[in-house]
Structures are given as C-alpha cells and as structure tokens.
Amino acid sequence: MDLTVHLPRNLILKNPIIAASGTFGFGPEYARFVDIDRLGGVSVKGISPEPWRGNPPPRVWETPSGLLNSIGLQNPGLSAFLAEDAPFLRTLDTVVIANIIGHTVEEYAAVAQALDREPAIDAFEVNISCPNIKAGGITFGHDPDAAYQVMRRVRQATDKPVMVKVSPNMAEPWTVAEAVVEAGADMISAINTVIGMAIDLKRRQPALGGVTGGLSGPAIKPIALRIVYEIARRVRVPVIGMGGIQSPEDVLEFLLAGAEAVMVGTITFQWPDRMEGIIEALPNVLARYGFQSLKEAVGAAQRPALADEEGLAP
C-alpha cells in the first residue's frame, strides 16, 4: 500500500510517521538506533534565536501511562544549530521540520528567516505554546490574535511550508488553529503537551524542577484525538496529529479523527525503533480495518455536521 502523504507547498512525506519535536533531538542522537531515512519526517527540537538554558532538573517524572517533562525548551540557539546540526540534517533523505520558538513575534520571524535559506530545512513547525514573557506570561498559543501575528510574520519570512503547533491547554484550541490558517499557515500540528504536575512525597515538593510540566504519552491520547477531531472539521488545511501514539492502531485512530499524518514522541524513549515498526505494520493494519488506501482512512470517523453535537454533555 502506498503510504505517501502529499502536503501543501509540495511537501511530500514517504509515510505519515514523523518524529515529534523535542523527543528526537536534532537527529544524530538517534541515528545509531533508528534508520531515520525510513521515517516520514523529523521535527527537530525547538530552536530560538539565542540559546535557552531550560529549567532546573529533575526534568522528567513518570505518571500513569504518561510522562511529565519540564525541559523548558533548552536549545543551543540558531547559530549553533546552523553550525553544528544543520550539516548532519542535510545528509538525511527525509523531510526535516524546524520547530521554532521565541519570546516575541520578531524572534519567531528571525528563526524562520534564517532557516528559510538553510537547505536542510524542508518545513517549519511554529511552536506557540511556550511562555511569552513580554505579554505577561500569557502564551501566544492561548490567544488567537497573538497567534495570528506570529504566523503572519513567519509567513512573510518564508515560502517553505509552515505548520503551527496548537496547545491543548485552553477551552477551544480550534480558535487558534482558525486564526493561524487565516494568517497563512499551511498545516496545523496538534497537540503539544498538557500542563500537569506531580508531587514528590519524599521531598515534599513539586517533583519537577520547573514545578509544572507537560504531560505526554498514552494518558493524553483521548485529549489529543478530540482536539484533532475538532480542528479537522473546522479548518481546510491538513492536520498532523499526535499525543500518546504507541501502535499502528493508535495511528489509525488519529487518521480516522481527521489527521493526514502523525507525530510520535514519548514512546521513542522506550522503543527507539517503534516508529519503524509502525511504518512496517501500517499497510496491514489499514487493510485489516477495510481501508484500501491511507487517504481513505483520513477523517473516516468524522461526523457530517457540527450541529449534531449540540446539547450533548460529557
């Protein structure tokens, strides 16, 4: 079965499985363990104009079927990325997506502009769920207008395909998706981690150095599916779904909910080669559920209208 995914601006994935940002470094780390060229794509760790230090450790904590992290977007900054990481990425025969972060609209634009000229980078993922210190702690990702501004400036900075990554930590994430599509986003990726926390009973303190953290892994799959489903029925651009994917069946759930491709994160820590396993199994699993092609599965569980959900309470 052909697993190729055709995305806007001629972005073509060999298959719908992309390594999720922040869980796959800048590529070389996992190169010993995974045949990266077999993946549909790789979204690298978030890149800011200047280096970011990140949060104090501990930075990870296990929860039931989940993982809390408070990495705090540590990254070496744009110049170090260009000097040290871009050369390796240029050697890859797969789609490389630059995940970009910033404190201000201009910082996002600066990274996009610099990487627009970098041949290693095939597309951008604008991560607007990081704290915006200038706007008083409200993140860009929770404010459709701010998200619109970021996307508009990024759009001016590059003609490469751009997706915006949506935060689940708000009542109606689709309002942000709609705003950035309006501002020229070619795709939406969803979801980023869900804010959570754990208490270390022995130390009588928040378990993470960053106090709160982002929850990922199978625990958040239902939250992710619902947001992907809601966004896919509202925007006309492709949605890249993620959150807790562990198996080809999980991938199918996201496809049926409306995603055209998916990203895979936390499970890679346990099973570095799981993404390859999923790619291998996907045609059979699609066939087992009666799908002749990948495309046929996309949105197959979407209900026709928005109206029929009115009046339903959880």
Binding site: Y30, P58, R59, N69, Q74, G217, F269
Partner: protein
C-alpha cells in the same frame, strides 16, 4: 542499526537486603567501559539507567547491581536466570583510565559502589601507585561489594553511619585524611549528591583528576531529550549551564560541575 537488544541473564544473586546483582550477556556489551550504563526496559513509561558493576569484555558479560527503590528496580530484581533484559547499552561517558603512577582513591556510597568496582577490576591490576578504596553505607547490612574488592586484591575501608561495620561516619573523613597524605592523588567517586558535593569541595586544588559519576532522572538515555541534565559551568548571571548525564556524563570532571546549584 544498533538498536535496543535483549541481553541474557546468566546469574542472579542477592547481595544485600533489597540489593540484587544480575550478570547479563550480549556481544554488544563487549566494549562497555566502567562508569557507563545500560538503559533498561521495565513496565513503566521510561527505561531505567543502571551502571555496570563488572565487565567481562571477552565474554560480553556485564553486572547490574540494583537496589530496589521502586517499581522499576523491583521488576529488574525479580528477573530470573534465562530471561532477558531489553536494553540500550553501553551508554554514556565512562571513567577515563587512571594514571597508573598517581595515588588513586575510589570513593563509593550505596549503589555508587558498583561502577567503582568495575573501574578497579579493569585498571587495578596495572596500577603502580598506591590505591585506596573507601565504601560508605548506612549500616552493615547494606555494605556493597566489599568482598569483591577483597577478591581483587584490595582491602576496602568501610564506613557506616551507625558504626555497625567499619568506621562510624561517612566516607568524607577517611577521604580528607587520604587527601592530606596524597595531595598529588587522583579520585573517582560515585554516590548520593550530598556525598559527591563534599568530595568535590574536599578535592579542590588537588593535583590529579577528580572524576565524579552522577545520577539524574532520564528520558531517552541517549542525548536527545535533554531531561537528564545537571548544573554545570559556565554559570551565568541567570544560572548555570546544563549538561546531560546520559551522554556528557555520567562521569564528569569536578571542574565541569556547578555544585552550588546541584
């Protein structure tokens, strides 16, 4: 691709209360170095890092000495001979070989002892200058690997906090004494952070290298996720830099670390 592999468990032995040592075998363990670790699959969401307690490169065998502190270590400790452990290994930066002509102190506390034993096993036989092993534990029943050291021809100095075995106290006093006698010495240490902080402070200015093996909660174990960091130099106005225990460590030079932040 050199992905995860399944190492065969060839020996399991209870070494102390709640402490089990497994010997595992796989050809990919042939070039393991003392101070490196295996990242082991357990039923949890994350793998569990465990240092090598001994390494037989020829046979591709390595020891894993685990203290049961939670579900992951309990699961590892309950494995049986003939089962396998799924692991990514060997990982991380191990100890740099000691200078055979410099006095050498190996200082271990609790489950910090196993990597030091593997260092001694590898390099002790060719060491020409004097060597000194100091092992700390809370109480007698928890002293680890002292017999193993003895078998490898060195008598370790044992300290226990309650005095139930060896010298009452911690490894700190014996180390201070050793340092005053050996200002040209080199040190390898592994143990709780509190102990390592003391070792770091005591060894400031000694002539030889001081290598400290650290622990930190890990995600990927291979350098990709930036979970396992420890505060390190340079320290800027807004805080320290961060280095990864899984790839830039577990063994650090004392000068690399920012102890006031750890």
């Amino acid at each position: 691709m050199a992905g995860a592999f399944k190492a065969l468990i060839v020996t399991v032995r209870q070494v102390a209360l709640d402490h089990v040592e497994l010997i595992v075998e796989h050809e990919r363990l042939r070039d393991a170095t003392p101070g490196q670790f295996a990242h082991i699959l357990t039923p949890g969401t994350l793998r569990r890092p465990v240092s090598f307690s001994r390494i037989d490169g020829g046979l591709g065998r390595a020891g894993l000495l685990v203290q049961v502190v939670g579900p992951g270590t309990a699961w590892i400790a309950a494995r049986q001979v003939g089962e396998t452990l799924d692991m990514l290994a060997p990982l991380g930066r191990g100890f740099a070989p000691p200078d055979p002509d410099r006095p050498w102190a190996l200082v271990g506390g609790g489950v910090g002892i196993p990597p030091l034993f593997s260092a001694w096993e590898r390099w002790g036989w060719r060491h020409r200058a004097p060597a000194h092993v100091i092992l700390g534990a809370r109480k007698a029943a928890l002293v680890l690997m002292d017999a193993d050291f003895r078998q490898q021809a060195i008598e370790p100095l044992v300290t226990t906090e309650d005095g139930s075995r060896g010298i009452m106290g911690t490894v700190v006093d014996p180390l201070r004494q050793w340092l005053s006698r050996n200002p040209d010495g080199q040190v390898m240490a592994c143990g709780p952070n509190g102990m390592l902080a003391r070792v770091s402070a005591l060894t400031e200015g000694i002539a030889g290298p001081v290598q400290l093996a650290l622990e930190q909660r890990m995600g990927c174990g291979i350098g990709a996720c930036l979970a396992c960091v420890v505060p390190s130099v340079p320290v800027g106005p807004d805080g320290p830099g961060y280095r990864r225990v899984c790839t830039e460590g577990p063994v650090f030079q004392r000068e690399e670390l920012a102890w006031s932040w750890i």
